[in-house]
C-alpha cells in the first residue's frame, strides 16, 4: 500500500489539485489522458481555482459543521458506548455528464427489472432458472437468504424489489461495472439527499451554474409508487417506515426519510397483527397499515415464521402478507438476489428472462461452489478479493494480495471446507476523483451507489446521481461506510445549459393526501413523555447545582456557614447530594459531591446520565423534530471542555449555564414550533408531571427539617424553584414557610407551582385520546381528581399569613399523598397509552 500523503505538509508546486501518482493505474474522473480537464469538470475546477485553498477549506469546514448540526450519523457496529459516528461529505462533488448518466440509468432500470424477474421466478413462479440450469439449485436451496415461508406469497403488481441499490465502479479502461447489489432494504437515498442539502449551502453558485439534476423528484415518485403498491382496493394507503430502531447503523436515514416522505416511522414493537392485518399501535388505538417501507432485514421481520430470536419484527407479518392485506417494500425474501454468488450467472439469465444483454457488466466474479471456479480462484488467490457468497454471513472481504503466506493458506483451507459459501472477485482498481484532504484536492477512489425505485407496470425512477463513497486512500480497492471513508454529493451535469437557474434543490416533501394525520405510535408517545420528564429533571438538577455552586463561590462570613449547613441537610433529604448531618459543613466535601454529580458519567441520575437518557429518548423519536429542534437537542450534551480544570467552580458554572440555556431553547422550540398533536402533548405531560413531583419532593424535604433549618433553606428553595422575584414582589416580607408553601404549592399563577402543573395536566387530559369529558363531570381521570381535591383542602389564605406550620406531621402526610397521586398519574398514563411490551417466543 502506498502511504497517504500527509495533508499537513502541502508539497510546494503541487497546486490545488494534486495529480495521481504515476504508479497507480486508475481512471481519472477529472483529467483526461491528454492531461486536460474533462469538459464536465471544467466549470467546477475553474470555480475552485478561483476560490483558492483558504476559501475551500472554510467551505469544507462549513459542510462539516452543517452535518454536525443536522446530527447526521452512520452508526458503526461493534463500537461500544457512543454509537453515533458523524457522517462526512466531501466539499468536492462527484461529477458525471448527463449523457453518460443516461446510459447508467438505463442499466440500473434493466438490472432492477432483471433481479425482479429472478425473484418472481424463484418465489412466485416455476423456478425455471433451476429447472433449466441457469442457476445451480444449491445457490437457492442452501442460501440463507431464501425464505421458504415466503414462496408463493402474492406480491402486488409483481413488484418484489421496490428499491434496488447497485454499487458501481469504473475500471482503468473507463468501463463501469457492478460490484454488488443491495436488494432487501437498501440504504443511501437519504444520505444522498442530505449531502445535496449540505452542498447546496456550501456551493450554491456552482450547483446552480452547473445545472445539476435535482433529487426531490425521485422522492416524490417514490412516494407515489409506494401508494400504488398498496393492496388492491386500498384507497388512501397508510404507509409507514419500519426501522430496527436507533441502534441501527443507518437509523439517521430512516428518520430522515420518514420525515422527508411524510410517513410514520415505526419499530416492530409499534406494530401488531390482528386478524391477518397489520396495525400501528397509536395512543388513539390501532390504526391499519397498508404499505411498509422496511429498513429491517428479511429474516428479522417476523419471529413467528422467520428468525424466532428476532425482537425487532412483528409476529404474524408473514401471515398478513400471505393474506394480501399489506405490502412490504421490498418483498420479504429479497436478500436472496443480493447474494454475490448470483453475479456470475446474471448474463445468461438476462438473455433468458429479458432477451437482452446486460447493459452494465458485473465485476468478474467466481463462485467457489462450482468446481472450475474453485480451481481458478485457488490458483490465483493472491490477486483476488474473497467475499462471503451470501450476505447473511457478515465476514470478509479478504484481499489475497495483502495476506501473508500463512493467512493465504488459512483462507484456502476455509474456502475448501465449504466452497459454496465463498465468491471471489477480480481486484478492481477504483477510478479516482478529487477529494479535499486538509489543504488540497487529492485523487481518491470512488464507488457510486445507484438507486432505482420501481412502482409496477414497468415504471421506474432513478435517483439522479446516487451516493458516491470515497476510499480512504488513493489506491484502496474497497469502500465501506462500516469501515470508514467519506461520501460525496453526486452531480449529474447537464452538458447544454438550456435550463434556467433553479435554486430550490431541496424541497421538503408535502403530505398531499387528505387522509387523517397518522397516529402517534405508543412507543413514540412513551419516548416523548420520558424526554419531557428527563429534560425537566435535568433542569431542576442544574438549578440545584447552580444554587449550591453560587453559594460555595462567595462563601464569606460564618453566618453563611450555618446557612450552608441547613442547605446541606436539605440536599441530603432530597437525596441529591450525600451529606453527613452529624458532621459540620465542609465546603470542600460539598464542592466535590456537587462536581461529581455534574461531571461523573458513573453517577446514576447525575447530569451526564440524564443527558444520555435525553439523547436516547430523543433519538428514538428523531423523525418528530424539526432540523432546528434537533440541532438544539444535539447541543444538549456534556462536552470535554466542561471538564474540571483549574477553576472548577467557575467552569462548572459556565457548563451549567450553557446547558440551562440549551434546555430553555429546547422548551422554547417545543412551545413555539411543535404541532399541538398528541406527540407534543405527551412531551409536555412528561414535563408537567416531573415538575410537580420534583416540587413536592423539595417541599417535603424542607418541611421535614427542624424549624430553624427549614427557615434557612427557604431562600435557596425559592431560587431553585425560580420564584424568588415573585415572592419578594408578592409578600414584601421576610422569608416565611407559610407564604413559600402557598406560592410553590397552591398559587395557580406561578408556572412553577404544583397547582399550575395540575391545571396543565387537566388541560392536556381533555385532549387525550379515549378520554370522555363532559362539562358537568370535568376531568375525572384517576389521580387527577385526588390531586385537585387534596390541593383544595389547604387553607390557602391562612397559609399565606402563617409564619410557621402548626401541624408538621399532617402537612407532611398531605404532601406525601400529593406525591403519590402525581406518581400514580404517571403510571396510569404508561399503562393506558404506552403498553407495547416485547414479544417472546415459546
Amino acid at each position: 500500500m502506498t502511504k497517504v500523503t500527509d495533508s499537513e505538509s502541502p508539497a510546494a508546486g503541487d497546486g490545488l489539485f494534486r495529480s495521481l501518482s504515476p504508479h497507480i493505474r486508475a481512471f481519472d474522473e477529472m483529467t483526461g489522458e491528454d492531461g486536460r480537464i474533462r469538459d464536465h469538470w471544467s466549470h467546477l475546477v475553474k470555480a475552485f481555482t478561483k476560490h483558492g485553498a483558504m476559501e475551500i477549506k472554510a467551505r469544507s469546514d462549513n459542510a462539516d459543521r452543517i452535518l454536525r448540526e443536522h446530527g447526521v450519523t452512520y452508526n458503526v457496529y461493534g463500537e461500544a458506548g457512543s454509537i453515533d459516528r458523524p457522517w462526512g461529505v466531501d466539499v468536492a462533488p462527484f461529477l458525471l455528464p448527463a449523457s453518460e448518466w443516461e446510459r447508467i440509468e438505463a442499466a440500473l432500470i434493466q438490472r432492477s427489472r432483471l433481479l425482479n424477474r429472478i425473484m418472481e421466478d424463484l418465489y412466485g413462479g416455476g423456478q425455471r432458472l433451476l429447472r433449466n440450469g441457469f442457476l445451480p439449485p444449491e445457490l437457492v436451496y442452501s442460501n440463507p437468504g431464501f425464505l421458504r415461508p415466503c414462496r408463493g406469497i402474492p406480491v402486488p403488481r409483481q413488484v418484489y424489489l421496490h428499491l434496488l441499490a447497485c454499487d458501481m465502479v469504473r475500471s482503468a479502461s473507463g468501463q463501469w461495472s457492478v460490484l454488488s447489489d443491495r436488494a432487501q432494504a437498501p440504504s443511501g437515498a437519504g444520505y444522498a439527499l442530505e449531502n445535496r442539502s449540505v452542498l447546496s449551502r456550501v456551493l450554491p453558485d456552482e450547483i446552480r451554474e452547473s445545472s445539476v439534476r435535482r433529487l426531490p423528484e425521485f422522492f416524490r415518485r417514490q412516494r407515489e409508487m409506494l401508494s400504488a403498491l398498496a393492496p388492491e382496493g386500498c384507497q388512501d394507503p397508510n404507509v409507514i417506515v419500519l426501522t430496527p430502531g436507533p441502534r441501527n447503523e443507518t437509523y439517521f436515514e430512516h428518520a430522515y426519510l420518514a420525515r422527508s416522505l411524510g410517513f410514520t416511522l415505526a419499530e416492530g414493537a409499534d406494530l401488531t397483527v390482528r386478524n391477518q392485518r397489520v396495525y400501528l399501535k397509536t395512543v388513539e388505538g390501532l390504526q391499519a397499515v397498508d404499505v411498509i417501507l422496511r429498513r429491517l432485514d428479511d429474516a428479522f421481520c417476523d419471529p413467528l415464521e422467520l428468525r424466532s430470536d428476532s425482537f425487532l419484527g412483528v409476529a404474524g407479518l408473514v401471515e398478513a402478507t400471505r393474506a394480501g392485506t399489506v405490502t412490504l417494500a421490498n418483498a420479504l425474501g429479497s436478500a436472496l438476489v443480493e447474494s454475490a454468488a448470483f453475479l456470475p450467472f446474471l448474463e445468461p439469465i438476462s438473455r433468458l428472462l429479458l432477451d437482452q444483454e446486460l447493459l452494465l457488466p458485473c465485476v468478474p466474479t467466481w463462485w467457489c461452489g462450482r468446481a472450475r471456479d474453485l480451481r481458478h480462484v485457488l490458483s490465483q488467490l493472491d490477486s483476488m478479493v474473497v467475499k462471503p457468497a451470501f450476505r447473511t454471513h457478515r465476514s470478509g472481504p479478504w484481499f489475497g494480495g495483502r495476506l501473508s503466506k500463512v493467512e493465504l493458506s488459512d483462507l484456502k483451507e476455509r474456502i475448501e471446507a465449504s466452497p459454496r459459501d465463498f465468491i471471489a472477485q477480480e481486484m478492481v482498481g477504483l477510478s479516482v476523483a478529487p477529494a479535499w484532504i486538509g489543504q488540497a484536492f487529492e485523487p481518491r477512489g470512488v464507488v457510486l451507489r445507484g438507486m432505482v425505485a420501481s412502482g409496477g407496470d414497468d415504471s421506474f425512477a432513478v435517483l439522479p446521481g446516487g451516493l458516491t463513497r470515497v476510499a480512504p486512500t488513493a489506491c484502496a480497492s474497497v469502500v465501506s461506510s462500516q469501515e470508514g471513508g467519506g461520501s460525496k454529493d453526486t452531480w449529474i451535469v447537464r452538458e447544454s445549459t438550456q435550463s434556467g437557474s433553479d435554486t430550490s434543490h431541496i424541497t421538503p416533501a408535502l403530505r398531499t393526501s387528505g387522509r387523517t394525520i397518522p397516529g402517534v405510535p405508543s412507543r413514540a408517545a412513551d419516548n416523548l413523555f420520558w424526554l419531557g420528564r428527563y429534560a425537566e429533571r435535568l433542569e431542576q438538577q442544574l438549578r440545584m447545582i447552580r444554587c449550591v455552586i453560587g453559594r460555595l463561590s462567595d462563601e464569606t462570613g460564618t453566618g453563611t456557614s450555618v446557612a450552608m449547613q441547613s442547605l446541606g441537610l436539605l440536599l441530603n433529604r432530597m437525596e441529591s447530594v450525600p451529606f453527613d448531618p452529624a458532621r459540620p459543613f465542609d465546603p470542600e466535601i460539598c464542592q466535590e459531591a456537587v462536581l461529581k454529580l455534574l461531571h461523573d458519567p458513573g453517577v446514576p441520575g447525575g447530569t451526564r446520565d440524564l443527558l444520555a437518557l435525553i439523547r436516547t429518548n430523543a433519538s428514538a423519536v428523531r423523525d418528530r423534530f424539526s432540523g432546528d429542534t434537533w440541532r438544539i437537542l444535539g447541543r444538549l450534551q456534556w462536552t470535554p471542555d466542561m471538564a474540571t480544570g483549574r477553576l472548577p467552580l467557575a467552569e462548572a458554572q459556565t457548563a451549567v449555564q450553557s446547558l440551562v440555556l440549551y434546555l430553555a431553547a429546547f422548551s422554547g422550540m417545543e412551545m413555539e414550533n411543535m404541532t399541538r398533536g398528541h406527540g407534543w402533548r405527551f412531551l409536555d405531560l412528561g414535563r408537567r408531571v416531573e415538575r410537580a413531583i420534583h416540587m413536592l419532593h423539595m417541599l417535603r424535604s424542607a418541611v421535614e427539617l427542624d424549624p430553624h433549618d427549614s427557615l434557612r433553606v427557604l431562600e435557596p428553595l425559592l431560587e431553585m424553584a425560580d420564584s424568588i422575584l415573585t415572592y419578594r414582589r408578592r409578600y414584601f416580607s421576610d422569608l416565611r414557610l407559610g407564604p413559600v408553601l402557598e406560592l410553590l404549592l397552591l398559587d395557580p399563577a406561578n408556572p412553577r407551582s404544583v397547582a399550575f402543573q395540575l391545571a396543565q395536566l387537566e388541560d392536556h387530559s381533555r385532549e387525550l385520546p379515549g378520554v370522555n369529558i363532559t362539562r358537568e363531570s370535568g376531568v375525572n381521570l384517576p389521580h387527577l381528581v385526588a390531586l385537585r381535591e387534596s390541593l383544595a383542602s389547604f387553607p390557602r389564605a391562612e397559609l399565606a399569613r402563617a409564619a410557621s406550620v402548626d401541624d408538621q406531621a399532617s402537612l407532611l402526610q398531605q404532601l406525601a399523598q400529593l406525591s403519590s397521586e402525581a406518581g400514580g398519574f404517571s403510571d396510569w398514563l404508561a399503562t393506558r397509552y404506552f403498553s407495547h411490551s416485547l414479544p417472546r417466543v415459546g
Binding site: 423456478q127 433451476l130 429447472r131 433449466n132 440450469g133 439449485p137 444449491e138 436451496y141 442452501s142 421458504r148 415461508p149 414462496r151 408463493g152 401488531t272 397483527v273 390482528r274 386478524n275 391477518q276 419471529p303 413467528l304 415464521e305 424466532s308 409476529a315 404474524g316 401471515e319 400471505r322 393474506a323 411490551s837 416485547l838 414479544p839 417472546r840 417466543v841 415459546g842
Partner: protein, 298 residues
C-alpha cells in the same frame, strides 16, 4: 389394500406465569395426505378461542394453521383431533435399489421434477448440518457400490443399537453434533443425526414429523418414543421415490406410523410455534393418544 383407521388426540397445554395479552401461534398438526395415508377428518380447537384462525399449505405442502389470541389468558390449550386411514408402506427389495453413489450423482445433475425437489434436502439445514464427522460415521455403512437401501438399513440399525434412548440427555435445542458425542437422545435427535449423516454423503434426506401407535399387540415388543409425537427419516431413491426409515425403532414406518408432515428438519415442521406478549414463565404439557378404530379394505 387394507388400511387401519386411527383416531388421534393431541393435546398441548400451556400454563403461563402472569397473563399473556396476545399470542400468535403457527401449528403443523393436521396429518397430510400421502400415498399410503388418507386424512379422513381433522379438527383443531383452541382455548381461549382465537380471534383469527386460518390454514394454508406451507412450502413443503404441509397444512399449517395460523391462530391469534388477543385477549388476556394465563392458560392455553390446543386440541388437535385427527382421523386417518393408514396403509402399508412400499419397501422395495434392497437389491433393486441403485448404488448410493449413483443416487448422489443423479441428484446433483438431474434438474427435473422429483429429483430437483430431492436436491433441496441434500444440503445443510440449521438442525441437520453437513459435516465431516457425520460422513465419517456413515462411512462404515456406505461401502462402495452398496445398494442405497441396504446401506441406509445398516446405518439405521447402527443408530438404533449404538445410541441410547434417553429423554433426560437432550433438549429440543441440543445440536446434533452433541447427540453424536453423547450417544444418547430421543427420536428427534436420532432423526436429525441420520439426516445429517445422509446429507454429509450428498444424499437427500428429510425429517418426518408424525405419530406412532404404541400399544403393543400380544407377543410383540413395545415400541419406544410413545409419549408424544414421533419423528423419523425419509430418504430419496430415484425411480422409487421417498422411503421412510425409523432410526429410533430400527424399522420401516408402516401401518403404525402416521405422518403429519415433512421438512428439512424439526424447525420446518415443529407442531406448535408461538410468540407471546406478556406473561413470564411457562409450563408445557403434551399428551398424545393414538387409538386404532378398526380397519377397512379398499
Amino acid at each position: 389394500m387394507r388400511r387401519i383407521i386411527y383416531q388421534i388426540e393431541h393435546v398441548t397445554r400451556w400454563g403461563y406465569v402472569g397473563h399473556v395479552s396476545v399470542s400468535h401461534m403457527l401449528m403443523r398438526l393436521a396429518p397430510r395426505n400421502d400415498g399410503r395415508q388418507l386424512l379422513l377428518n381433522h379438527n383443531l380447537e383452541l382455548e381461549p378461542g382465537p380471534s383469527a384462525l386460518s390454514a394454508h399449505s406451507d412450502y413443503f405442502g404441509n397444512t399449517a394453521h395460523f391462530a391469534a389470541i388477543d385477549r388476556s389468558h394465563s392458560e392455553m390449550v390446543i386440541r388437535s383431533s385427527s382421523r386417518v386411514a393408514v396403509g402399508p408402506a412400499f419397501v422395495p427389495d434392497a437389491s433393486e435399489t441403485p448404488p448410493w453413489e449413483t443416487v448422489r450423482s443423479q441428484c446433483r445433475v438431474d434438474r427435473t421434477g422429483q429429483a430437483l425437489e430431492a436436491n433441496e434436502f441434500s444440503h445443510s439445514s440449521p438442525l441437520a448440518p453437513v459435516d465431516r464427522q457425520f460422513a465419517e460415521l456413515s462411512a462404515q455403512s456406505f461401502l462402495p457400490d452398496r445398494p442405497i437401501l441396504d446401506a441406509v438399513m445398516h446405518l439405521t440399525a447402527r443408530i438404533a443399537a449404538e445410541f441410547k434412548f434417553d429423554p433426560q440427555a437432550t433438549q429440543v435445542s441440543t445440536p446434533v453434533s452433541e447427540v453424536l458425542r453423547l450417544r444418547r437422545g430421543v427420536c428427534q435427535d436420532f432423526a436429525h443425526l441420520q439426516i445429517a449423516c445422509l446429507r454429509s454423503l450428498g444424499l437427500p434426506a428429510r425429517y418426518i414429523s408424525g405419530y406412532i401407535e404404541t400399544d403393543p399387540p400380544p407377543g410383540q415388543m413395545k415400541l419406544r418414543g410413545a409419549d408424544a409425537s414421533h419423528a423419523w427419516v425419509s430418504f430419496y431413491c430415484p425411480g422409487i421415490g421417498w422411503i421412510d426409515v425409523d432410526p429410533t425403532n430400527n424399522c420401516f414406518p408402516s401401518m403404525r406410523h402416521i405422518t403429519i408432515g415433512w421438512g428439512r428438519d424439526y424447525a420446518d415442521v415443529s407442531p406448535v410455534r408461538g410468540v407471546l406478549v406478556g406473561g413470564s414463565g411457562q409450563d408445557l404439557s403434551v399428551s398424545v393418544d393414538v387409538v386404532a378404530m378398526g380397519s377397512v379394505e379398499d
